[in-house]
């Protein structure tokens, strides 16, 4: 079919005028620069969902690496505990293996969170276990769940009501008071005026020997 040149020009003109009359200008803002500034990086719900999925998959992979390093430390600790203490060669070898595993875990945590290896060592020195450090840094967030199933409820309740058999306090699974996400790494949080979080220990502490009689 032969198209008349004049009607083609007319059609294009119509489409062009329709576009600018009926579609608001801000509809273009996500695909073009706005006032010469930055354009939007995600422009529809599907892209947002894809970005979210990708972020989750990448985090899951990194979490798996950390879990592997945590398991290696646990295995090395178990190995050291099982060695005959009089066998100095075996003890030394087990200690070296544990030191290597700890260093690898330190490195994995530091690398994936941005918290330095020395800060993580400081957290260890303050008496925090590896699990507590990971939780304080916002790792393994799926550990608890929302208590919809019995096992989820049991898990959460077990953590929420855990007993401290050495200090008798009730705060070991909670972050530090008023602190942001970096408090665990020893960085100053947004509220440092409130004292330590072990207030829950209440009176008594470990002074039982001299308690009231």
């Amino acid at each position: 079919m032969k198209i008349n040149r004049a009607s083609l020009v007319m059609s294009l003109a119509l489409i062009f005028s329709f576009t600018f009359v009926f579609i608001p200008v801000h509809a273009f803002s996500q695909t073009t620069s706005f006032d010469g500034e930055e354009a939007a990086s995600l422009t529809n719900a599907a892209q947002v969902q894809k970005a979210e999925n990708l972020a989750q998959a990448t985090a899951d992979k990194a979490q798996a690496e950390i879990e592997k390093a945590e398991n290696n430390v646990a295995a090395a600790e178990k190995n050291l505990a099982s060695v005959n203490p009089t066998d100095t060669t075996a003890v030394k070898a087990a200690e070296e293996k544990l030191a290597d595993a700890v260093e690898a875990l330190n490195h994995a945590l530091a690398n994936s969170t941005g918290v330095s290896a020395s800060e993580i060592s400081d957290m260890r020195a303050s008496g925090m276990g590896w699990g507590q450090i990971a939780h304080a840094l916002g790792l393994h967030p799926g550990t608890l769940g929302l208590g919809h199933t019995k096992s989820e409820k049991d898990k959460e309740q077990a953590m929420a009501t855990s007993r401290d058999f050495s200090k008798g306090t009730a705060d070991k699974n909670h972050g530090q008071k008023g602190s942001g996400p970096n408090k665990a790494s020893g960085e100053k949080g947004k509220d440092t005026s409130s004292g330590k979080s072990s207030e829950g220990s209440g009176k008594g502490g470990s002074q039982g020997g001299g308690g009231k009689n």
């Binding site: 985090a59 969170t113 304080a136 769940g145 009501t161 996400p181 470990s206």
Partner: protein
């Protein structure tokens, strides 16, 4: 790890050895330095000299308990408590020894006994409430946690478990307030992540969890002044928390996504304002790491199998 005050403590221990004060100093030292096995050996010797010493029994029990020797701990703490039945601290630790031996009823009775002797024994009240929560006695647990919070408003386990008890009692409005009170005091860590999930599940998004790299970071709502893209002080405070994470991980890029129902221009301004704030406040963060997006529709948020809709919100997603 030995304290720098070790020589002084050692002198006090030798000087007062055998008397109650000396045993307190010694016992507290071994406990605080986590030298449980050495402590056990030392107190065993003290008991050989004086088998009726309540202090030696008490510390030996506590050292065994800390060393995961639950049965031995119970034996000595029972004896200490029998010698000094009026000591609430002994009763409390006896309760913990029962807990370690999975003797729930006796544990609960011990805390009750301690509270009869001293109603202000906070540790006993917290652990009594724990046992009540475990047994499904939510009203009782709530009452005890509330009493603890009257004395110590920021006691973390009471703040958290009060919300859990309210959840079980289906007192939804109070539960929301309780989670927020917990999060206002303890905004980071695993329990906070879970508290945010509980809150969101109730349709309240005043706090949200954001996956930043590998870390899940709870942040309070990024607030703006009405009809503008000016951040509120609370909004800035939340961004400060985010910035403190991003500045340490400069290889990490994130999407800043602002939603403002029916107002794309304001959504855009909000996204760009957040970026501007972060870049100015944290010069360590490269501007190219912060990618902005904006939408004039409500954000759809899925929590477990529930879909929520927020007309005005900000989300952060790690950009891969």
């Amino acid at each position: 790890m030995r304290s720098k005050y070790y020589p002084i403590i050692l002198c006090i221990m030798i000087f007062f050895s055998g008397c109650a004060v000396g045993q307190m100093v010694k016992g507290d030292y071994y406990l605080s330095e986590t030298e449980y096995k050495h402590g056990i050996e030392s107190f065993k010797k003290d008991l050989e000299k004086d088998p009726d010493s309540p202090e030696a029994r008490y510390y030996l029990g506590r050292l065994y308990l800390a060393d995961n020797q639950a049965q031995n701990a119970l034996t000595h703490l029972e004896k200490a408590s029998a010698i000094k039945p009026q000591n609430p601290e002994y009763r409390f630790w006896l309760g913990l020894a029962f807990a370690a031996n999975k003797m729930k009823k006796q544990e609960w009775e011990s805390y009750e006994g301690a509270l009869k002797l001293d109603p202000d024994h906070i540790k006993s009240r917290i652990y009594l409430a724990h046992t009540q929560l475990e047994r499904g006695l939510y009203e009782d647990a709530l009452k005890n946690y509330s009493q603890v919070l009257d004395k110590i408003p920021n006691e973390p386990s009471s703040l958290y478990n009060r919300a859990l008890a309210l959840k079980e009692l289906k007192r939804i409005q109070e539960e929301k307030i309780a989670w927020k009170e917990y999060l206002n005091s303890y905004p980071s860590g695993l329990m906070s992540v879970n508290a945010v999930n509980h809150l969101n599940l109730l349709g309240d998004f005043s706090f949200r969890n954001h996956l930043i790299g590998i870390r899940t970071i709870p942040l309070s709502h990024i607030g703006f002044k009405p009809f503008s893209s000016d951040l509120t002080p609370e909004g800035m405070s939340s961004l400060d928390d985010l910035g403190s994470v991003l500045k340490k991980k400069t290889d990490l890029s994130i999407h800043i996504i602002a939603y403002q129902k029916n107002n794309k221009q304001l959504a855009e301004q909000k996204a760009k304002q957040i970026k501007k704030y972060l870049v100015e406040k944290f010069p360590e963060i490269p501007a190219s790491n912060l990618k902005v997006s904006w939408f004039d529709v409500p954000e759809k948020i899925k929590i477990e199998n529930n879909l929520f809709s927020e007309d005005e919100s900000v989300n952060f997603i790690t950009a891969i």
